[in-house]
């Protein structure tokens, strides 16, 4: 069905024959036996339907059609090796592009170090970074708009909650690190100097929540402690959370990781009980996990998290 086409194999042999002027010499160049060359040329002549070589006792010459084919073969085989080299460069991490999507507090600490190490190890690779919160970042991953998505998930609060991270069944999930939620209260708050705070002690306070998923999780944690938090404000922006808390407008919890890069102005941070963990993971598609540049970047992220 697809057998009447010229194959690259044939052109390589033809080129060797044209270059050396004999089947035996071509066979030596190609590292095979002389009958192999002979048969390849016969097959090529059959597929083109016209003689390509003239066997004249002493020497092997090309017909006009043979010369035309050799002329084309030069360009075709050059393109083929160029393609192989470009692929090899990507596979060998001398080239390659990784588009990374991260949530804000991850990109401020974890990503920069991983990215720096990646660039140092494989200067040819190009890593791009875009910020997006988990629901959107996973969507981008599935739609091919990025290769790696940094996301986080909370463990199930009350026993079996199948929807916690179950939507990642078909993804590769590389755990990076686990951080805790830290309470944030105004400087003058009655609990500002406490060693730790029980979450129930904040039952009556107004709350300032984070992103939708963080907010949902906050509600779950509070409800399992016996109350429903009154949420007055919600914002993704951690400095804004500090500002609101510092202005006495409420209390909040915040990932420990976010504290590394944001200065708590007018607010105090206090560990809360029960300890609530947030697991930060890197996500990618199974096929993409086998792409060298993606795998290397994933390893760098894991390394950066364990440092």
């Amino acid at each position: 069905m697809l057998g009447a086409m010229i194959e690259a194999r044939h052109l390589r042999v033809l080129r060797a024959v044209a270059a050396t002027g004999s089947f035996s010499a071509a066979a030596r160049d190609l590292g095979c036996t002389q009958p192999a060359v002979s048969q390849q040329m016969k097959a090529l002549e059959q597929s083109t339907g016209t003689p390509l070589l003239i066997r004249t006792g002493r020497e092997m010459r090309l017909t006009e059609a043979g010369e035309a084919l050799v002329r084309h073969a030069a360009g075709i085989l050059a393109g083929l090796t160029a393609a192989e080299e470009e692929i090899a460069a990507i596979a060998g991490l001398r080239a390659g592009r990784v588009r990374l999507v991260s949530f804000p507090s991850g990109s401020s600490t974890l990503v920069p170090t991983a990215l720096a190490e990646m660039r140092a190890a494989h200067p040819g690779t190009q890593i791009s970074l875009v910020e997006a919160e988990p629901p959107r970042s996973v969507e981008m991953l599935r739609e091919g708009d990025c290769e790696i998505a940094l996301a986080f998930r909370y463990p199930d609060v009350r026993g079996a909650d199948p929807a916690a991270g179950a939507e990642w069944d078909d993804l590769v999930v590389r755990p990076l690190l686990t951080d805790r939620l830290i309470g944030v209260v105004p400087e003058g708050h009655r609990l500002a100097g406490a060693e730790r705070i029980g979450i129930g002690e904040l039952e009556q306070e107004p709350w300032i929540a984070g992103c939708p998923r963080c907010r949902r999780h906050l509600v779950e944690v509070c409800e399992s402690a016996g109350f429903t938090p009154r949420i007055d404000f919600a914002t993704d922006d951690y400095p804004a959370v500090f500002g609101l808390v510092g202005a006495g407008l409420g209390v909040a919890v915040m990932p420990e990781l976010a504290l590394e890069s944001v200065r708590p102005k007018g607010a105090r941070t206090v560990p809360v009980e029960p300890v609530v963990h947030r697991e930060i993971v890197a996500l990618t598609l199974p096929d993409l996990a086998r792409v060298p540049a993606v795998a290397a970047m994933l390893d760098r992220l894991v390394a950066a998290a364990h440092r």
Copy 2:
């Protein structure tokens, strides 16, 4: 041994997959089944050593390496079809070149008509013509300087002369026509008005011979008639022969074919006995005889000879 290379077959399939976005659609385009496409892509990914496609449930996307390969494949496959088309043009007589070598009296009559018909039938072909006498023309044929050589041979004069045309054993010999040698005597010669001349009647005359082979054959013919001709002049140029004969410097024999294009000034032509034939043939190499343009030109030559 040669198995780690990218084959054109793979690129055709990859291109179809990239164009259609699915294995099944690509299979329909290519006229094969879906598992065939699936296996080809697996083989290609193995030979490149890196994933090229991402299978994400709904749709089939390319990795960076896959996109690079598709980009190269466009040029490679374009070159391949260009090569196939050029070969097809040569095979289909829409193109092609035939270099013809002829001896002088053949090119003046036979070749022009054959050449005109060839051009009319296959306008894309290019026929070139060079003149050379038989020993040299066959040499050119063997050395690849032409595709067809027009030559002539004389039948054996005395029984078995193995060297007559035996050097053409490895060539394709297409007989075109047979002409006779005609005697040429001065206008005032005692035999100028004869019906025919026995060769023996010219025993005492000085002779004007032609090319080396013609001369050798003349000697053979005369010797088999019982005498050795006294050759005073030898020239390839038929008008010159007529001039010499017309000036009374001797007698000659000349191929009948040559008389068609040369005006006998001051000389008379008379048939000689015994009748001596000269066979005009077209020669080519066995492999070249299968080249369409060469085969077509040979057929035109045969047709022109029989007209």
